[in-house]
């Protein structure tokens, strides 16, 4: 119990929760970072450049 007037204590995550969160974040980065680092498909860039040149 917190003392009267003192701010309520925030529930602290169990160490196993923190370990899981760390592992999950690493896994998500492993899955999704790759696609953001890949070169943009030429077809897509061409589509944008064609529109730019038509303006």
């Amino acid at each position: 119990m917190s003392k009267p007037g003192s701010p309520p204590k925030r529930a602290r995550k169990a160490p196993s929760d923190k370990a899981f969160d760390l592992w999950l974040d690493q896994g998500l980065h492993a899955m999704f970072d790759e696609v953001a680092k890949e070169p943009i498909p030429e077809e897509l860039l061409r589509l944008i450049e064609q529109d730019r040149n038509n303006k």
Binding site: P15, A19, L22, G27, L28, M31, D33, V35, L47, D51
Partner: protein, 224 residues
């Protein structure tokens, strides 16, 4: 540290360099859009198609974009609307949420660990809106306020979705999410790892978790 955000970069470009063209903003936003499309579709080919159709829509509607406003948010809304429209069309043929995730997900090949394969499979089982915000927050490093602006969804709702997504993944992987923790402290085992060994052994990523437990949770948190 999360990766720098392309949409943050583009938002900065809007604020400080008004001469940046619509097309430059669009090109700069593509990496983040591709991540979001993959989060929604779970499939590389579908993600590429979704980005392509969204870019076409954006080019067709470029006069409706107001310079100086958040380009990332504008594009994210187009992407999401295209996705929902595609989903409605596909449901007439097959409900993709019912399709096995293993068929929809892209395999990373032999080099991809068993744990990541399992995670990829389970990520596919999350609702699409949960998956998207989880990626925006955990991978793209957005704040909840930024994600809220992009998705036009209240911050509280997004926090709830991320929390629920993490809890679901944890429950599917470890099976102990809802288990009440004993109030009476059991005698401490000799091992110093903070992660319970039964939880680690139940996880396909046992070696990874065990290492995390030793290296990070164990080493840092035990000191408290």
């Amino acid at each position: 540290m999360p990766l720098p955000q392309d949409d943050q970069a583009t938002a900065h470009m809007v604020a400080s360099e008004p001469e940046v063209s619509f097309h430059d903003l669009l090109v700069a936003a593509l990496p983040a859009l591709r991540q979001q499309a993959l989060a929604l579709t779970r499939n590389r080919a579908d993600a590429d198609d979704l980005v392509q159709t969204s870019v076409s829509s954006a080019l067709a509607a470029q006069t409706s974009f107001q310079p100086g406003t958040n380009f990332g948010a504008w594009m994210a809304r187009i992407l999401r609307n295209r996705f929902l429209s595609n989903m409605r069309r596909r449901r007439e043929i097959v409900d993709i949420e019912d399709a096995p995730a293993s068929l929809l997900a892209r395999s990373g090949g032999q080099e991809e660990g068993l744990a990541i394969q399992q995670l990829r499979h389970l990520i596919g089982k999350l609702p699409a809106d949960h998956r998207l915000v989880l990626i925006m927050i955990s991978v793209q490093g957005m704040s909840y306020e930024e994600a809220s602006e992009q998705l036009d969804v209240p911050v509280g709702t997004l926090k709830c979705r991320v929390s629920r997504a993490r809890a679901m993944l944890r429950r599917w992987l470890l099976g102990d999410d809802e288990a009440p923790k004993p109030r009476v402290a059991a005698p401490k085992p000799r091992a110093r790892a903070s992660v319970p060994s039964h939880a680690l052994s139940a996880l396909p990523a046992a070696p990874v978790m065990a290492k995390l437990g030793r290296d990070k949770a164990g080493a840092q948190l035990e000191r408290r």
